[in-house]
């Protein structure tokens, strides 16, 4: 799947979980840029993304992403 396609699907998941309809993600977005993207919602986002793409991340991956781009690369590599 193309990165852009994944980004748009991930953005939709973020909007649902964080309850922010107008949230716009870019590859460079980090947790610091998004209100309410904290350690708890991070786990909820991971669970939702795993369900949506039918994948399973490793613990190391979940703790190592520095921005959305790295998260998308992990999804792409599955």
């Amino acid at each position: 799947m193309e990165k852009e396609q994944i980004l748009s699907e991930v953005q939709e998941i973020f909007r649902n979980i964080l309850d922010q309809e107008n949230l716009v993600l870019s590859a460079q977005t980090t947790a610091a840029d998004v209100e309410d993207w904290d350690s708890l919602s991070h786990i909820q986002l991971v669970v939702a993304i795993e369900k949506h793409f039918k994948i399973r991340f490793t613990s190391k991956e979940i703790q190592s992403w520095k921005n959305v781009d790295e998260m998308i690369s992990s999804i792409q590599s599955k």
Binding site: V46, V47, S59
Partner: protein, 481 residues
Amino acid sequence: MIFFKPEFVLFFFILFNLYWFLPYNNVKKQNWLLVIANYAFYAWIDWKFVALLFASTQLVYIAANAYQNSTSPSKKKFLYIGSLVYAIGVLCFFKYFNFFLQSFNDFFKLLHINLGLTQLKILIPIGISFYSFRLISYIIDISREKIEPIKDALVFHNYISFFPTILSGPIDRANKFLPQLQVKREFSYALCVLAFRQILWGLFKKMVIADNCAEITANVFDNYIGLPASSLVLGAILYTVQMYADFSGYSDIAIGFGKLLGFEVNKNFNYPFFATNIAEFWRNWHMSLTTWLTEYVFTPLTILFRNLGKFGLILSITINFAICGLWHGANWTYILFGILNGIYFIPIILGNKMYKKRKKGAKYTLLDFLNMALVFSMFMLSLLIFRANSLSDFFNQMSHLLSKSLIEVPFIPFNKPLIIQTLIFIVIMFIAEWFTRQYDFPLFKIEQKLSKPLRYSIYYLIVVAILVFQTKTENFIYVQF
């Protein structure tokens, strides 16, 4: 108290002058001087285990560099797991070997099998819980690629054995502390003034409040059977304050000595008794340990149990706090202390308030103050388990506590002026902390608030209070952990 023994004062005086005022000083000289001081200090406290401290540090240093230089995944894995097993294994052997042996014996006794495993005579190396945690997080951070292994062994030895914090923390993390060791520290008069203020405030908490509380609480807990239950409550309140004043006082002194050598040491307390729920309390109590556990225990557990929803979160927090309890020592009382604190989180998790932080500048309402009292009482109850010698000891106290005499006027057959004087100082401490809670400690920005004469009067009053009201100096509670 270790920091104020004449030998230590002389040692520090010599070190301070050499460290700052030696001609042609550079980072290498400073680090050599510091590492000698660190090991000399440790040898002075516990010479039997200097070799263990040195060997563990050196081993992790070598393994970390070999890990970085290796290209073979299997060798990397071996080095990572091997060094982790070593660091955790040494800690477990010294602290928990006999405890697990005894627990095995007891368990099999229930099944009418007598294993009869004999316990070993093991002395616990001072500070092992603190420096082992530094080693463990260093190994994990490298494997997570958060930091790169340090090439300079001198810097690494200084990090692990840093004498102001080796006995009882704070547990500094490599990413914050190692960079400070890699540059030359420049003498700053302002930083030294700040350090002395912090040490003074720490001494006040330790010598005027914690030590006096210790005299009273020892008296109450040793004789509680003959006293009304309300006296035990008063004793428990004083013990809770004692624990705070002792450990946060120690932390202020340790951080102060760190500053005198030009280092920024991790904060350990942020006015925990002003927290309005238990999650906020634990974010502000023994912060260097709780943030460590959050990163290396709680977060991996929440990831592991991520498909279990809130139950996964409850399970993670309970295990996290059981480990937090066990870290304090090999006794079921500590484990239960931890589990109880984990259970306290359940209503917060179910109400989605786990990560909600108080808005900065938000006004406190009456409900907030009631919540503070509730948090204090909950923590106080868990400290009753913490302080008890055994679980049966705790249950005896609880059955004594839940009696009619709970509503009697508390009575302690002990030096009454001492009790009143201690209560007054506790009130002074909390008032000072409340009005300066945005700062690290009450004397932090005192030069901006008060004129010089007023400032010096306050220093003078604190020194007088320490000299006049000090009692038999107890060792810091956390040195035993």
